[in-house]
């Protein structure tokens, strides 16, 4: 998972043409619909993880909460034996394979030149927290709503997608120091 020796010898390969990556991604999404009748996702897997954690530490507390309980309802199996959990495990493997083949596995912090590493990690944590809350409120994230619902013209997903771009553009100016 950490840096490999090959990265020293070879410069990382450039990213693919965006339309080619997009077609690849779209075909994976289509395949998911064809085989399973459902699309992709990401944040749902982390909900299963959180629900499992809370129920392990405080089972009564988790049971009394409707949100956690949705992931714990089926007591015949572990909440981690879930479609999205396995899909996200695949995402980790697929991302690693692609990165390794292109020499792009490297321990680093992605940031603009005008912010410290500490500052960037602080914002990454805060951003992740805000994203977690937003994704649950919206019943899904960029994968589960925007891509998946977008392809079947789901009303809520399209409203969500416009709001994501709207929200991001709305505040981008105030966080420019982090990226530019």
């Amino acid at each position: 998972m950490q840096s490999t020796s090959t990265e020293v010898q070879h410069a990382p390969k450039p990213y693919w043409n965006p339309y080619l990556s997009g077609i690849g991604l779209g075909l994976v999404l289509l395949l998911s619909y064809v085989i399973m009748g459902r699309g992709l996702g990401a944040s749902g897997a982390f909900s299963s993880l959180v629900a499992t954690g809370v129920s392990t530490i405080a089972p009564e507390h988790a049971k009394a909460n409707e949100f956690y309980n949705e992931y714990l309802a089926d007591t015949t199996k572990s909440p981690l034996k879930d479609w999205l959990v396995f899909e996200v495990l695949g995402v980790l493997v697929g991302g690693f394979i692609s990165g390794a083949l292109a020499g792009r596995i490297k321990t680093t912090v992605e940031k603009g030149p005008r912010i410290s590493v500490k500052g960037r990690l602080f914002y990454a944590f805060i951003g992740g927290t805000i994203m977690g809350i937003g994704a649950k409120l919206a019943r899904g994230c960029t994968s589960g709503q925007a891509l998946t619902g977008g392809a079947v013209l789901n009303v809520g997903s399209w409203a969500f997608m416009l709001a994501v771009f709207g929200g991001a553009y709305m505040i981008a100016y105030f966080f420019r120091r982090q990226w530019k």
Binding site: W83, R104, F125
Partner: protein, 199 residues
Amino acid sequence: MNIPFFKYGLFGDDVSLVIAFIIGIGFGFFLERGGFGNGRKLAAQFYFNDLTVFKVMFTAIITAMVGIYYLSVIGWMDLSLVYVSPTYIVPQTIGGLVLGFGFVIGGYCPGTSCVSAVTGKIDGMVYLLGIVVGIFVFGEIYPLVSNFYNSTPMGQITLSQLFNIPYGILVFAVVLMAIGGFAAAEWAEKKLGNKIVEP
């Protein structure tokens, strides 16, 4: 053809988990190929420097959308068996705005942060930790927000039903709009000096 296969009982739950893992590999692979494991590239979308996020997302959406439409028109795919998640328009729009804030502040979304973390980016790993904390916070405040969370339900509804536009015409219109958007994105990137973010 009996599509979707799973809904026709061609295989069971255990096999579906193996399929989930394989589909996930494809998903992660193409996310990384497109540069979605890099927070600088993702955030650049919101400063108009590099519009890869828009291009990849909409190419993916129209590819899958046209595929689903085509398979249903030729009668191979039963659309009534395809899952369309129910719409709760106000909480989903507000959730989208909040998620957009988190995107610019943190640089990723949940799927892309997985790819980022696994390719060694420490900011991606920290971001993942943030997501887990955020979901926990949401879980803990859920009793307080559940009324809002369940407000404005519209059921399982598509844009073609909402606007009463035939499915095929809407698919065609979305493809045209996407192509127009791609042309505008290419123009804007050139205008701003092609500051495409590289690895």
